[in-house]
Symmetry: C2
């Protein structure tokens, strides 16, 4: 799909959504791709791989290091710290509810969780594996993994049948279980009128009146439901020229332009979710804004050219805080072992 | 207790132990200090602190980073990687069954798990917090922690009542639940004669005949039971001069001498456990030996001046592999949150 067409589709959805008022509780299950159905064995294998630091160069970084499911699904840092203390340029997005996004990464460059999962493994400032083959080499060195892959995909007979696509599919399947619904806001929508404070309800009204929900719409507040691979993007800042451009270095990273090199995609970004946003400070693609209050103020100014009053900011923050979901209890995975040897150095 | 006295006590135990043949299954529970009784709320709080990366300088390293309970309780690396990619000089010991040790760290410089827990927090190449006060500052910034400390210690009323000793006590309490018994060896001792292969049984005989169990004795194979704070130490190498001194750089780190500066403690080390040793490669204080086979060969040569035949090494390794315990299932902790702000930078 060309960017032009995507934008046209988005615009249409946007108009529909603005008419329909998009307050929906989070569905219990996200979309599941036809070629990667959920199975308990696959989810369990994916969980092990998600927590396995041995698939990073020095054996110290797992998916969970930067997307910590014991917290808000990220690392609460401006940018993540990867191999040898190096820092990425962007802030780690939360893994919670990411299964509801139609594209992944801040710039939407991965069309699915499967594709996303492959990225950090070989990114030199993240897990820094020299190649996908080295990732597979490590996994094949862990005797217990083969049995688990076999259980999930009976066509896998030997270690050599394990491919990076199977690895990515298992990880994505686990991530599709990381759904945090049942927030006060979801309870409110389902009829419990006491679930939201008066202030949060005022905030819920304000985000519509001010215009925030013209982008942050849908059950995940990340845009209308779109087919996998079709992103919902927005320029940031829409209104450049405010003091925030310099203060928070908003224009340096060109967003989708860095991928597509298309002039019209300069500073275009995937619209991020609002769910669990209270847990994912600091804010924005570069993690430059430390508090949710300030993030709300900056967004109103840069995206809608509006100056919010302090009490409006407080109400909106109160509403955003009501979007923190209930995290399902999980058993800790036991990673298969390599008796008598180490596979990391 | 002076070192001399410790050594004398050790020698006495050693003789007793050698006479008594110390094959005991691992008790279900380790010693619990009188001033830190186990309670479910304390264990749960300790688990959260154990997994909380926010008590490291950059918010990226938790106790579990180097003592990974999803694996063998260590990080399978020669040495651990801490703050900003820095490396420690020694290999991370396993946390599993560490509650049975009478002193902690390779050099026994901490008399208890409580004391040990405080070490890495402010070690500049580990979690690198500037001071214990900064650790407390971070913990106090997490609103949910106060309620949990109050539940455990009713005398705690405000954030200021939380001290580093309470933090250490909670972490140590969690660590005392990390007991991995029920290994094939334990099953064998409890009467299931099929639990050990013939080769492992041959190895079990050999470790006595060769002399390994003159140090690696007791239920935890780390020495006789001694009061908390009294270490069981041994020189390594006992027989210097072999090719291994240079090959594995065995003499550089002076062990207890680095702490006490006492000449007679040069190259003295706490006798490490054999339990789960198959999961904690690479081996020795400096992690210089990559495989368990080689570790057995080197130990026989440097400690007992014996050259083992390959089939003897295999039998001993087979026995050591039978010491891998069953790890209790655990629920993943949910760490208390800091809504709207981040406390790490």
């Amino acid at each position: 799909m060309t960017t032009k067409l995507v934008l046209a589709v988005c615009a249409t959805f946007l108009i529909q959504a603005a008419q329909a008022l998009p307050f929906d509780p989070l569905p219990a299950k996200p979309p599941i791709p036809a070629d990667n159905p959920q199975t308990p064995a696959k989810i369990e294998l994916g969980k092990k791989l998600y927590f396995d630091p041995r698939i990073s160069k020095q054996g110290t970084i797992s998916c969970n290091s930067c997307h910590n499911v014991m917290l808000g699904g990220d690392d609460n840092r401006p940018n993540s710290i990867g191999h040898n203390g190096q820092r990425g340029a962007r802030s780690a997005p939360t893994v919670w509810n990411s299964a509801f996004l139609s594209v992944q990464f801040w710039d939407g460059r991965a069309k699915s969780l499967e594709e996303q999962a492959k990225g950090p493994l070989t990114n030199p400032v993240e897990m820094a594996m020299d190649s996908q083959d080295v990732v597979l080499f490590r996994i094949r060195k862990v005797p217990g993994y083969l049995a688990e892959f076999k259980k999930v995909w009976p066509n896998i007979k030997t270690n050599e049948d394990i491919t990076i696509d199977y690895v990515a599919k298992a990880i994505a399947s686990y991530e599709r279980t990381l759904i945090a619904g049942g927030s006060p806001y979801d309870q409110f929508l389902r009829g419990n009128k006491k679930a939201l404070s008066a202030q949060a309800q005022a905030g819920m009204k304000l985000v519509q009146e001010v215009g925030c929900t013209s982008c942050h719409m849908g059950a995940n507040f990340a845009g209308p439901p779109l087919p996998e691979g079709t992103g919902f993007y927005q320029k940031f800042p829409v209104y450049p020229g405010s003091e925030y451009d310099a203060k928070y270095d908003l224009l340096k990273d060109k967003g989708r332009f860095e991928v597509t090199k298309a002039e019209q995609e300069k500073n275009m970004w995937r619209v991020p979710t609002w769910r669990n946003i209270a847990l994912t400070a600091p804010y924005f693609h570069n993690g430059s804004v430390k508090t949710l209050d300030e993030a709300v103020k900056v967004m109103a100014k840069t995206q809608l050219n509006k100056d919010l009053k302090p009490e409006e900011v407080s109400s909106i923050v109160s509403f955003l805080e009501s979007l923190t979901g209930k995290f399902p209890e999980q058993k800790m995975p036991r990673l298969p072992e390599t008796p008598g040897v180490s596979i990391v150095e």
